[in-house]
Amino acid sequence: MKMQKYLTIAFVALIIITFASFFMYSYMYKPHRNVVEEQTVAVLSAIELQNRFADANGSLESFADKIIEVNGFISNVEQQRTIIVDDKVQIDFDGSSEIEATLIKGNMIRVKGRCVGYDDLLEIVKIDQAILINNY
């Protein structure tokens, strides 16, 4: 009888430990943000976005680290998977998407991505982990 009691306690303890370590693990190794699934907080043009960062000191970092949608004309296709939109916003596409061939200077595009912040050396806003929504 006593043996059975010990076994029950051991069993319950084992279950608790398993759950606890599972939660610990999923907290410590939670996945990175998913730009595709996350809600967009704002939709605006590249020029508008750059203006917001360049003028207003108050709302300076309001879009930093937020998921936004930006549209404009491709003013330059840089090396790798980087484009410049309207000379105001630099967009780095997500490493996993295959898009390079379709990006042509002068195209109007719309992308969704994470706003990293304002680069005051080049006076452009940087967006990374971008995904292409429209390209025409």
Binding site: H32, E61, Q80, G117, D119, L121, L122, K126
Partner: protein
């Protein structure tokens, strides 16, 4: 007479445009500058982050170099580590930028070749609202139209008033190794 006027005007315009293009040629820019920093300790989880979207500008006439990395652009393997780095250590909402401003010493861009030469650099690294003088050596070479710069230096978190809590102190190295890889293209 009118013809002469036009010629003079044309000559002036050519000079002005010429001056502008020649200064423009002195600027080399990398919009996807690569910066990695690592503070890993043996036996513990890797503490390492990388950005591919920093900016670096080299002016080959003054030999001045300027670089800017948006702190939020650094990506860790572990997303919780990235979150803690941004919120608790580097406080990227308050201090969004890491900058380097410096000068290449004894540097002549016209003498660059495909085989790398070691160039000393003197400059200031600014982050977390603090500044620190950095002196290091970069390996610089020229490949076609691009100037490639590689190198690194060490900094300590306390140089920038970044406090590491006791709980994780032995998991984070006292010295952080910063490595840069710039591929600067003439503009």
């Amino acid at each position: 007479m009118k013809n002469l006027k036009n010629t003079i005007l044309l000559a002036m315009i050519t000079t002005v445009v010429g001056v502008y293009t020649s200064t423009a040629q002195g600027k080399y820019i990398d919009k996807n500058a690569n910066i990695v920093f690592e503070a890993s300790e043996k036996l513990f989880e890797e503490v390492k982050a990388e950005t591919e979207s920093a900016t670096a500008i080299l002016d080959t006439e003054t030999n001045k170099i300027a670089s800017l990395a948006l702190v939020k652009g650094f990506r860790f393997k572990n997303s919780l580590m990235q979150e803690h780095f941004n919120e608790n250590y580097i406080e990227s909402d308050t201090y969004p930028k890491a900058t380097f401003k410096g000068k290449l010493l004894n540097f002549d861009s016209s003498k660059l070749t495909e085989s790398p030469s070691d160039i000393p650099v003197d400059g200031t690294l600014g982050l977390h609202g603090k500044e620190k003088d950095i002196r290091t050596t970069l390996s610089v070479r020229k490949v076609e139209d691009a100037i490639i710069m590689e190198g690194g230096f060490k900094v300590a978190p306390e140089d920038f008033d970044i406090e590491i809590p006791k709980l994780v102190r032995n998991k984070i190295a006292k010295e952080v190794l910063v490595q840069i890889n710039f591929n600067l293209v003439g503009k």
